[in-house]
Symmetry: C2
Subunit: 331 residues, 2 copies
Amino acid sequence: MTTYQKIVLASRPQGQVTPDNFRLETADVPPLQDGQVLVHNHYLSLDPYMRGRMSDAKSYAPPQALGDTMVGGTVGIVVESRHPDFAPGEAVLGSLGWAEMGVADGVQLHKIDAAKAPMQAYLGVLGMTGVTAWYGLTQIMQPKAGDTVVVSAASGAVGGIVGQLAKQRGCRAVGIAGGPDKCRYVVEELGFDACIDYKAGNLFDDLKAATPNGIDSVFENVGGEILDASLAQMNPHGRIALCGLIAGYSGALPPLKNVRVLLTMRVKLEGFIVFEHLDCWPQALQELGAQLAAGKLIYRESVAQGLVSAPQAFIGLLQGKNLGKQLVKLV
Amino acid sequence: MTTYQKIVLASRPQGQVTPDNFRLETADVPPLQDGQVLVHNHYLSLDPYMRGRMSDAKSYAPPQALGDTMVGGTVGIVVESRHPDFAPGEAVLGSLGWAEMGVADGVQLHKIDAAKAPMQAYLGVLGMTGVTAWYGLTQIMQPKAGDTVVVSAASGAVGGIVGQLAKQRGCRAVGIAGGPDKCRYVVEELGFDACIDYKAGNLFDDLKAATPNGIDSVFENVGGEILDASLAQMNPHGRIALCGLIAGYSGALPPLKNVRVLLTMRVKLEGFIVFEHLDCWPQALQELGAQLAAGKLIYRESVAQGLVSAPQAFIGLLQGKNLGKQLVKLV
């Protein structure tokens, strides 16, 4: 292979992401310099945070430049290496973006044990997804046995793990998701105690009925009315781990109405980005790995086939069409 | 004196507080039981939190019952005592409400040193007001030298102290207040670096201009657009001490629009009530007392004369008519 395909940011979305925000390009495989590694990507991770990087609004990371390869986590196999720590044939985790191949400095790659779990699990439950869930739950929500924990986007990759980790800590886990199929998955497969279908039209009442002892902590992925509904049931000294605001990723974020509760219930709300807490990753991955090995961590993957399907899969992710982790299989 | 006057809650406000929500009553001075103390109140403290107690919405404290004496902090002189720790003539801090006199169990009273500071200072800078400022600043905002700290309702009793304590820690203190007189007071008397007049019509731009290095932490007393303006300038890992939401005390609280910043800047927001942190009071009062004794803590009082003036003074407080601590002088 002397060329490979990649997808670049063609234009910034105005509201909804559309296919023409992306452009498929063919690139030459560059010659390696000392210290570099050429990786053949097998899986690409699609995650809501990418929507933020497509815009030029001020955020935690600079926007990505027009014409650059879309950012993203990848797993793949080393093809060629001029770095002493990596050899051809080894499986690695990297951030090589929406591309079939990529060149990385060795420091940007992490070897993974593909015998322990399928390669793509290191993009999900054993990677950023799992650690995000673990960090928000353990470091911000600080659950105690008996707490009621609410998770929005509960059928998503992160939300599904939050609820399972909360259950293992003796909490009542209540999910919020869109549609009866997702809610059934959250309760019957993932083991949440209840899941509210926000599309059913009775979000506030349904959530109230499912949280008879109030809400002690929230893992928030959505914002807007979904967060307002949780705030309405918040107990004193509630904690909110703010992980995402997908309600505002395709237009203006709806304003928050129940702000008063933050004061009257003395709530602690904290926005976080898991990459700023690298010190927590070993502990998180140890617990996630042990739970996975013991068969106590259920997850699903939605897998799109081929790089060319990535834009539509990403648009579907923002519209909530996926169940569990959204991946693109590149080989 | 065998009778005294008190003001009770006559009706719950619908939106704005009005004089007919209150009723002046005459009560008999009751005979003392063992362990009780009769106090002649000299000053009553008026504070925004009282608005919450007048409503029956769920909050951190139960609403006060219709017909009961309005709650409130008081300082006064012991008239009669059947408690071994208190003797007639001693100055005490209590929570005897909107009343000329009151009977308290000894445990509800604290002796104050009227030689160290005027009696009413124990309702303000050396009491709940000062500790509220200290707690939010030191425990939630955790300022470092060089930080930019924004304080809303900066000309109020709490806000004025927050800014001064922040300046003493090497911060840039920027206030937000309503009208040129208040802003002049905040800068020229209290020593803030700048103060934005939100009534001037350019809140967002003016605050941006006054915070060229962004905002590291916020002491929030107001909410709504005032908080949105601070969020728009927030630096990564900003902290918000949520002390009050006076924008919503006389009607619906305006929704919060810049919620996205809480995520993108990984902000920590915490609502708090100073009475839940009694362990901090000694340390806070030590610093406040030392600063006051050294002449480094400036404060003003707005004093209404006579119990009968309390309702109008309280309505004025909610409308921002006071400068500094709002008191009612009862003798």
